[in-house]
C-alpha cells in the first residue's frame, strides 16, 4: 500500500529538498549507529572473539541447535494442542445449549485475560500441590501456550463461523445433515480456511511466547543463546543479534505463508478474467 496521495509529487525544488533531507536522515542514522558502535566498542562487543564463536560448529551444536529444537518443540506442541482447544471451545461457544455456551465463554474469556506468564507459573510451581508431581518446565510452557493461545484461536474460529453466509448452514440442514455434521463438514472447514491468515499470525505469537520458557528454566533458544552463549563468551550483544535474527527469519517465513494463503482464500470466488 502506498500513501502517495498524502503529498504532492515533488517538483524540481521538492526533489532537491528531498535529496537534502535523505542525506540528513542517512547522516542521523549513521550518527546513531556510530554512537552504538562506540559504546559497544568500549565494552569490546565488536572484538572478533565475541563474534567468531557464533560461527563455530560446537557452539551451534551445544547451544543454538538444542535451543532451537526446544523452541520448536514447545511451539509445535503448543500449536497442535491450542488448535484442538480452540476448535473445541469455538464449537462450544456456538452451541445452542446455554449450559454449554456460557461455561465455554467464561473459560475462553478468563484465559484470554490472564497473562501467559501467570499460567506458566501456576502450572510449574503449583503442580506438586495440585497433582502431587512436579511437572517439567516444558509441560508448564505448553500448558500455558495451549490455554492462552487456544482461547484466542477459539475466538478467531468463532468469528470465522459467524462470518459465513447463513445459507451455508441452511443448505447443510436441507440436505439432511445433523447439527454436528453441518458444523464439522460444512461450517468449520470454511471458517478455518477464511481465518487462516489470522490463525497463522496467532502461531507467530505462540512461537514468540514460547520464549517465556526460560523464566521457568526451559531450555529454549533465548535461554541457550543469551544465558548459554553469553555466559561462556561474554558476548551478550552478538548473541542477542543472532537469536533475534533466527526468530525474525522464522516469523517472516510464517508471515509470508499467511499472505500467500490469504491471497488464495480471497480468490475463492470464481475469478472472471476481464479483458
Amino acid at each position: 500500500m502506498t500513501f502517495a496521495n498524502l503529498y504532492e509529487r515533488p517538483g524540481p525544488r521538492g526533489v532537491r529538498r528531498n535529496r537534502v533531507l535523505t542525506v540528513l536522515v542517512a547522516a542521523a542514522l549513521l550518527a546513531v549507529a556510530y554512537v552504538v558502535y562506540v559504546r559497544f566498542d568500549e565494552k569490546d562487543q565488536w572484538a572478533a572473539e565475541k563474534w567468531t564463536p557464533l560461527l563455530r560448529g560446537d557452539v551451534w551444536a551445544t547451544f543454538i541447535l538444542p535451543g532451537l529444537a526446544g523452541t520448536l518443540a514447545a511451539a509445535v506442541a503448543g500449536v497442535v494442542l491450542a488448535a484442538l482447544f480452540g476448535l473445541l471451545f469455538a464449537v462450544a461457544r456456538l452451541s445452542e445449549h446455554r449450559w454449554i455456551r456460557v461455561p465455554a465463554a467464561v473459560v475462553v474469556e478468563f484465559f484470554r485475560s490472564v497473562p501467559l506468564l501467570l499460567l506458566i507459573f501456576f502450572a510449574f510451581f503449583g503442580s506438586y500441590v495440585l497433582i502431587g508431581v512436579n511437572i517439567s518446565a516444558f509441560a508448564a510452557v505448553v500448558f500455558g501456550l495451549t490455554l492462552y493461545n487456544g482461547s484466542v484461536i477459539a475466538e478467531i474460529v468463532r468469528a470465522g463461523v459467524l462470518s459465513l453466509p447463513k445459507g451455508q448452514r441452511e443448505a447443510a440442514y436441507a440436505v439432511g445433515m445433523r447439527k454436528g455434521q453441518a458444523m464439522r463438514l460444512v461450517l468449520l472447514p470454511q471458517a478455518v480456511k477464511a481465518m487462516l491468515p489470522a490463525l497463522i499470525s496467532q502461531f507467530v505469537v505462540l512461537l514468540k511466547d514460547s520464549a517465556l520458557g526460560l523464566i521457568v528454566g526451559y531450555d529454549e533458544l533465548v535461554d541457550r543463546g543469551l544465558n548459554g552463549i553469553a555466559a561462556n563468551f561474554s558476548n551478550v550483544i552478538p548473541a542477542a543479534v543472532l537469536i533475534a535474527a533466527i526468530f525474525i527469519l522464522i516469523n517472516l517465513a510464517l508471515d509470508r505463508l499467511a499472505h500467500r494463503l490469504g491471497a488464495s482464500s480471497t480468490a475463492r470466488a470464481p475469478r472472471v478474467r476481464s479483458r
Binding site: 500500500m1 500513501f3 496521495n5 498524502l6 503529498y7 504532492e8 515533488p10 528531498n18 533531507l21 535523505t22 536522515v25 542517512a26 542514522l29 559504546r39 559497544f40 565494552k43 562487543q45 478468563f110 485475560s113 490472564v114 497473562p115 501467559l116 506468564l117 501467570l118 507459573f121 501456576f122 510451581f125 503449583g126 506438586y128 500441590v129 495440585l130 507467530v204 514468540k208 511466547d209 514460547s210 520464549a211 517465556l212 526460560l214 523464566i215 533465548v222 543469551l226 553469553a230 551478550v236 550483544i237 542477542a240 537469536i243 533475534a244 526468530f247 525474525i248 516469523n251 517472516l252 508471515d255
Partner: protein, 222 residues
C-alpha cells in the same frame, strides 16, 4: 484465601507497579508509534525504509528477548543509567523495552487506520495548500486514530499483560509477587493464582469495555 488477605498490601503494591509500567509504556508507545506511522508514509524513502525495518524487527522478536536485551545489553553492558536507584533504573529499562516492542504494533494499527481514510480527504487537504506534515497531523491521522480505537485498546490490554515479563529486568510487578507467594504459601496455589488472575481481569475488562464504547463514540460517520 489467608495468603491473599494477609499479603493484601504487598499484592496491591505489586499491581500498582504493573499499572505504572503499563501506563507509562502505553504513553511512550503511542508517541513512538505515531512517529513511526508518519515515517512509514513519508515522502522520503529513507524514512520509510528505516521505520519499516524497525517495525519488522520489533514485531517478530520475542518480548522476552527484547527485555533481556534492554536489561543485559543496554543496561548492564552499555551501562545506561537512568537513575541511581536500582529499582527505578530497572523500571525505566522495562519501559524502554515495552515501548520499543509495543510501538511497532501501534504503528501497524495506525497505518491500517490510515487506509480507512478516503483519498479525497488528503486530496482536499492538499488542494488547500497543506503540506505533508500538516495533511497528516490535521486531517488524516486524527481520522485514522478514531478508526482504530478498538485495536489500540487490544494493544493496550496486551501491553498490560506483557508487563509481567518485566520481571526479567528485575521489576517487582505482579508476576514476581505471585511466584513469591506460591513459594511461601505452597498449599494455597489455586487461591493465589485466582487472586492474581482476578486482578488482571479487573484491569483488562474495564479497558476492553471502555475502548469498545469509545470506538463506537469516536467512529467517523461516512
Amino acid at each position: 484465601m489467608e495468603a491473599l488477605l494477609t499479603e493484601g498490601g504487598t499484592i496491591l503494591a505489586a499491581f500498582w507497579m504493573t499499572v505504572r509500567l503499563a501506563a507509562v509504556s502505553a504513553l511512550g508507545s503511542l508517541v513512538l508509534g505515531t512517529l513511526l506511522t508518519a515515517m512509514r508514509v513519508a515522502p522520503l524513502a529513507s524514512l520509510r525504509a528505516t521505520a519499516t525495518v524497525y517495525v519488522t524487527v520489533a514485531r517478530n522478536t520475542p518480548l522476552t528477548l527484547v527485555l533481556l536485551f534492554t536489561g543485559l545489553g543496554i543496561g548492564a553492558n552499555l551501562g545506561l543509567e537512568l537513575s541511581d536507584d536500582i529499582a527505578t533504573n530497572n523500571f525505566w529499562l522495562a519501559v524502554i523495552g515495552l515501548t520499543a516492542y509495543t510501538s511497532a504494533f501501534v504503528c501497524e494499527a495506525l497505518r491500517s487506520g490510515l487506509n480507512t481514510v478516503p483519498v479525497g480527504q488528503a486530496e482536499a487537504a492538499r488542494s488547500l495548500g497543506l503540506g505533508f506534515v500538516r495533511t497528516l497531523a490535521l486531517i488524516t491521522l486524527p481520522q485514522a486514530f478514531r478508526a482504530v480505537v478498538a485495536p489500540l485498546g487490544s494493544i493496550l490490554i496486551a501491553l498490560t499483560k506483557n508487563t509481567t515479563i518485566a520481571l526479567v529486568v528485575g521489576v517487582a510487578e505482579a508476576s514476581v509477587r505471585m511466584r513469591e507467594l506460591i513459594e511461601t504459601y505452597g498449599d494455597q496455589v489455586i487461591e493465589i493464582f485466582l487472586g492474581f488472575a482476578a486482578g488482571f481481569v479487573l484491569l483488562c475488562l474495564p479497558m476492553g469495555l471502555l475502548f469498545g464504547w469509545l470506538s463506537k463514540r469516536m467512529a467517523v460517520a461516512r
